[in-house]
Amino acid sequence: MTKRITVRYFAGFREKAGTDEEEVNIEVATAGDVFALLKHRHGSTEPLGHCKVAINDEMADWSSNVNDGDTVLLFPPVAGG
C-alpha cells in the first residue's frame, strides 16, 4: 500500500538530499524500508545499524511499522559530546 510519509533528513543526510524535509508517496511497511527506498536521497553507504530513526519524534527501531501520515526522521551516525 502506498503511504504518504514526511521524511526529515539530518546533518550529512540533509546536505546530500539538499533539503531538510520532503513528502513522499512510497510503498513501505517499516522504517527500514523508508531508509532503503530513499537511499538515492540521503546517499548513505552506512550499515543500517550505524544510523538511527525516529517516528513522530520518538526513537524507533528500523523494524518499526510506518503508517500513512507519519513523519520519519532519518539520523546519520550520531556523535555527541
Partner: protein, 151 residues
C-alpha cells in the same frame, strides 16, 4: 537536560547541584580539541535535534539516578558553532559518596555520546570540513553497541 546556543558556564551549573547532604561532586566537560584523527581542527559545528535530544537526555539522567544512588545530576550540550577550547558538553553529579558520582557521571556522558540525535561537523585548517561519523569508526574497527544499532 538542556541544549544551549550560548557558552556553558560550569561554575553556575555546579552551584545548581549544591546539596547539604552531598559529599561528592563529579563533573565531566567535553572540550573542543585542536585536532582529531591527525587532522588540525579550527572549529566545530554541532547540529542537535532538540525535541528528542532533550527528551532522551532526561531519560538518560533518570536511568543514571535509578542505577546509582545519586542526589542530583544534570547535563548541558551545546549547539551551533564552537571554537577550540570551548566546552561542548557538561555533566555534573552530586551524591553522598564518590563511587556513585563517578559511575553516574560516566554513565551519562557515555550514553549522551551514543544515543542523542547530535552531530558534529569538523572544520579543518586545510579548508575542508566533514561530519564526524561511523565511516571513520569503521576504519578504526569501532564496534557499535546494541543500543546504537537498535536506536
Amino acid at each position: 537536560m538542556r541544549i544551549s546556543k550560548d557558552r556553558i558556564e560550569p561554575d553556575k551549573l555546579r552551584d545548581e547541584l549544591v546539596d547539604r547532604g552531598a559529599g561528592a561532586f563529579v563533573s565531566f566537560e567535553g572540550w573542543i580539541r585542536n585536532q582529531n584523527e591527525g587532522q588540525e581542527v579550527v572549529r566545530l559545528e554541532y547540529e542537535v535535534y532538540e525535541p528528542i535530544a532533550i527528551k532522551d537526555g532526561e531519560k538518560i539522567i533518570e536511568e543514571a539516578k535509578k542505577k546509582f544512588p545519586v542526589l542530583h545530576a544534570d547535563c548541558v550540550h551545546r549547539s551551533g558553532l564552537l571554537e577550540i577550547g570551548e566546552c561542548a558538553v557538561w555533566v555534573g553529579v552530586t551524591s553522598a559518596h564518590r563511587d556513585e558520582a563517578f559511575a553516574a557521571c560516566r554513565y551519562i556522558i557515555d550514553q549522551v555520546k551514543v544515543r542523542l540525535p547530535i552531530w558534529k561537523k569538523e572544520h579543518y585548517a586545510k579548508g575542508h570540513s566533514g561530519w564526524v561519523n561511523c565511516e571513520r569508526c569503521a576504519t578504526h574497527g569501532h564496534q557499535h553497541s546494541s543500543t546504537v544499532a537498535s536506536g
